[in-house]
């Protein structure tokens, strides 16, 4: 084969390979891979570990009630149903964030068909009231808000900040019976 053709093939090959190598590696320098560890605790038969102690206590009764609402899905009043439908339609009948506030975030999760309110401030009671007020503005009654269902929870940073303060957090909207 002609020497020049060989060199040309070599050069062309290098310049085809260069962008490929570059493009396939360029997003990785700043990242660090971590070995995937498949945990084996699940197959270790032995004495059960002691229960974990959460950083903030969730109110047991209210937590049970919330799970019952989620499981039973009590029927909403007609006006609450309409308001709920409007809220979900505003998201295109998909999951999405409805409100983003420094103190809280309201989102709808279609797969679970629940509304999550993430509390982002240590002043969680005020944040809960503000979030509840938003639902009221959408035309929901308090009973409707309780049955939507709406789940309140503290994000990790807030839980950390409240650690050790003997807080008992209610995952239901205030005033739910």
């Amino acid at each position: 084969m002609n020497k020049r053709i060989l060199i040309l093939i070599l050069v062309v090959g290098i310049f085809i390979a260069l962008p490929i190598i570059f493009l396939t590696t360029r997003s990785q320098p700043r990242q660090q891979d971590t070995l995937l560890i498949i945990p084996k605790a699940s197959v270790s038969i032995g004495e059960p570990s002691p229960v974990t102690r959460p950083e903030v206590n969730y109110n047991s009764d209210q937590s049970k009630k919330l799970l019952e609402i989620i499981a039973d899905r009590p029927t909403l009043a007609a006006n609450d149903q309409a308001a709920r439908k409007t809220i979900i339609q505003s998201l295109g009948n998909k999951s999405g964030v409805l409100v983003q506030d420094p103190g809280y975030q309201i989102e709808y999760i279609k797969a679970a068909n629940v509304f999550h309110v993430e509390i982002r401030t240590v002043d969680f009671e005020e944040a809960k009231q503000s979030a509840t007020a938003w639902f009221s503005k959408q035309g929901l009654t308090l009973d409707g808000i309780c049955k939507l269902p709406v789940v309140f929870y503290l994000n990790a940073a807030t839980k950390d900040a409240l650690r050790g303060q003997q807080i008992e957090f209610d995952p239901l909207p205030g005033g739910c019976k």
Binding site: F15, R30, A41
Partner: protein, 697 residues
């Protein structure tokens, strides 16, 4: 003399490129390339290696000639395909006459049957592509010979570029090892620079390897260097050396007329017997071509902003390339003196960004505050307070959340620490991450509008369809606005023939507005709008616009396929070390495994407890952050703490169920623990998880 004649004939017959002043001689099974000057130098050695009787006969023909005599002699001999006898033709030049005299001496000693080779039996071949000028020296050796000899000599070096090319070519020919090192070192350096994200250390390593690789045989470094580069280069060199060149060159390989003299002093001009000189195998033409291509590619990469590692025009709006972060503080302080750091975060992207800044405090320090410290050195003024988490023992993390940072704006943050141990060496651990961006990015949005084909009139409502397509990464949240044209009023936004409405607007006065549109990459949403003309003169212009309000997540990678989402959040971990005592990297900031996916997988893996985990357990035990870590101070059963969505501990096998286990594995592990560990012992989920115990499951 027949043997002498045969030797000379074979020797000259091996010269295959007379037009380029290059010779290729087969020796030891390899075809090697020589310049004419090199031939002149090694010829005596070649002759010395002949059988003594043959050597004695050949030597008088060539040894002792000056290079200026030998060069045209060899050229003319090869080009005319003549034997030495034919050069003894008295009708040729005085130079040829001299050669004839030499040959005659040989004939006189009855060693050469000269008379048996009349000129008529060897007609001089014609060469239609060449002219027959007179040589620069005025010799009349033969028109053909003179033309070949003088072609390179008459070459005009007319431009600086050619001069530089010739200089480089000459340099490469005279210093082949250095030239090889420069070429391969440069190429490998460029390769290293590009592939390492323009890391100079990597480039230098590549360059050093490339420079040394061509000499692996000489220095025995090939195996030490891994042999790969050396093998490739040596193989390439062998291939090139074993293939005759057939295409004529452009003349760029001209060597100076006194090249032989200039080469006298260099080491390579005195090869060991049997080791011929090696000419640099790549011509200056190819050197220019390769170098030029490297420069072009590097230039293109730089222009495209892909290689400099810090430009702010990254196509990925969440890329850390859109951030600049600096942290300055005193060089040293007394053991009991506070240390104030000034952290400056600058957003150099083109949208509005929310940014989280984290700083992991080193062991031996204690967090004081994040207040302004105008009197400190360096002075620091801030309006944003950070949030501290963790303990001094396990390591504290300070985080700031910067919201709505406009392009090219900076925010100053202050951090004051107190050393709790002497001789604490503090390293910079501050990191920043763009959590979301907002603002319009037209390249991420495809927006089509189809209007009525008929001319609108007052009796017919006007319906048209809008299709919004998201082309960006992750999930985009959009708002769509369409200004109602003059002389029309909003009628409805319902589905019509040819338009399927997927969302109702929230405003219909003046401007029709749709909000809360959430689309993943490649997804589309159809909107419909029907207007009622109120005048006969109606002009409908496309005034609809879509605004990308926010963008979260990113689907830069695809890992193991797990239902219901291909993204296992396992492929890309943040370098931020938040609360992890193991100092490993946790979590996946580009995770698109959202809550819908999480719930679906919980239903699949643990349907009994799916609602509990999704609405109670994860929030109570941990958080929806796969990085979450609960230290020993929280009362976790494991001394080192617990990790991940379900806050599981170290386990019996020394394996951690922590955040670097992807979400599907975390979920399965939890479900397996319940099924394989708790159920066989007649225990409920609450036997292990306190939050489950609270709700009686």
């Amino acid at each position: 003399m027949a043997a002498t004649d045969e030797f000379i004939r074979n020797f000259l017959a091996s010269i295959i490129r007379p037009d380029q002043r290059l010779f290729e001689i087969e020796a030891g099974g390899r075809r090697l390339t020589y310049s004419i000057e090199q031939i002149v130098k090694i010829l005596p050695r070649l002759i010395n290696q002949l059988e003594p009787n043959l050597r004695d006969r050949v030597a008088p023909l060539l040894v002792g000639k000056q290079p200026t005599e030998l060069i045209p002699f060899l050229y003319s001999a090869k080009n005319t395909n003549k034997t030495l006898l034919e050069f003894s033709n008295p009708s040729t030049t005085p130079q040829a006459a001299e050669e004839e005299a030499l040959l005659q001496q040989t004939q006189d000693s009855s060693l050469h049957p000269a008379a048996s080779h009349p000129k008529a039996e060897h007609p001089e071949p014609s060469h239609p592509s060449r002219a027959h000028p007179t040589s620069a020296e005025g010799h009349q050796v033969g028109a053909e010979t003179v033309a070949i000899l003088t072609t390179p000599l008459q070459k005009n070096v007319s431009t600086p570029l050619k001069r530089l090319g010739n200089t480089l070519g000459t340099f490469a020919a005279r210093n082949p090892r250095i030239a090889q090192s420069l070429l391969f070192g440069g190429a490998m350096g460029a390769l290293g620079l590009v592939t390492s994200g323009f890391n100079p250390v990597a480039a230098a390593t590549f360059a050093a390897g490339g420079a040394l690789a061509p000499h692996w045989k000489r220095f025995g470094l090939g195996k030490m260097l891994g042999g790969l580069g050396s093998g490739i280069i040596q193989s390439t060199e062998n291939i090139l050396s074993n293939r005759p060149r057939t295409a004529p060159a452009s003349g760029n390989e001209e060597q100076s007329n006194d090249g032989g003299d200039q080469g006298e002093g260099r080491r390579d001009s005195r090869p060991k017997p049997g080791l011929p000189l090696r000419r640099f195998p790549i011509s200056p033409f190819w050197l220019w071509l390769i170098g030029g291509l490297i420069l072009v590619v590097a230039f293109i990469l730089l222009l495209s902003g892909q290689g400099d590692g810090k430009v702010g025009d990254s196509k990925d709006p969440l890329s850390p390339k859109n951030l600049e972060i600096t942290k300055i503080g005193p060089d040293q302080v007394e053991n009991d003196q506070e240390i104030t750091y000034k952290i400056t975060v600058k957003y150099i992207g083109d949208r509005t960004a929310s940014i989280v800044v984290n700083d992991q405090l080193p062991q031996g320090t204690k967090f004081v505050d994040t207040d302004s410290k105008p009197a400190a050195q360096p002075s620091c003024t801030t309006k944003l307070a950070g949030v501290a988490s963790g303990s001094t023992e396990s390591g504290q993390n300070i985080s700031w959340t910067l919201s709505d940072l406009a392009p090219q704006t900076s925010t100053e943050l202050c951090l004051t620490l107190l050393p709790t141990e002497p001789d604490v060496y503090i390293v910079n651990t501050v990191t920043a991450m763009i959590t979301s961006v907002s603002g319009e990015a037209s390249s991420d949005i495809g927006f089509d509008m189809t209007g009525p084909s008929a001319v609108p009139n007052i009796d017919t409502p006007i319906s048209y369809a809008l299709t919004l397509t998201y082309k960006g990464n992750g999930t985009g949240t959009f708002e769509v606005y369409d200004q109602i044209p003059e002389h029309t009023k909003f009628l409805d936004a319902d589905s019509k023939d040819g338009c399927e409405s997927q969302l109702a607007p929230i405003e219909t006065t003046g401007t029709v507005k749709w909000t809360g549109i959430s689309l993943k990459k490649g997804e589309s949403l159809k909107l419909c709008l029907t207007l009622q003309p109120v005048d006969d003169i109606v002009k409908i212009a496309n005034r609809a616009r879509a605004v990308l309000v926010s963008q979260t997540g990113n689907d830069l990678f695809t890992a193991i396929t797990f239902p219901p989402n291909d993204d296992t959040c396992a492929g890309k971990y943040t370098v931020t070390i938040n609360k992890n005592p193991l100092r490993k990297n946790y979590g996946d900031p580009a995770c698109t495994f959202n809550k819908d996916d999480l719930y679906a997988l919980l239903q699949q893996e643990d349907p009994l407890h799916a609602d509990f985990w999704f609405n109670q357990g994860i929030e109570c035990e941990s958080s929806f952050d796969a990085n979450n870590y609960a230290g020993p101070e929280t009362g976790t059963p494991d001394a080192g703490g617990a990790w991940g969505l379900f806050q599981m501990g170290q386990g019996k096998n020394g394996e951690f169920d922590h955040g670097d286990v992807n979400w599907p594995f975390q979920i399965r592990n939890q479900a397996n623990y319940y099924t394989n560990v708790l159920v066989p012992q007649g225990l409920k989920l609450g036997a292990y998880f306190a939050c489950a115990q609270k709700v009686g499951i």
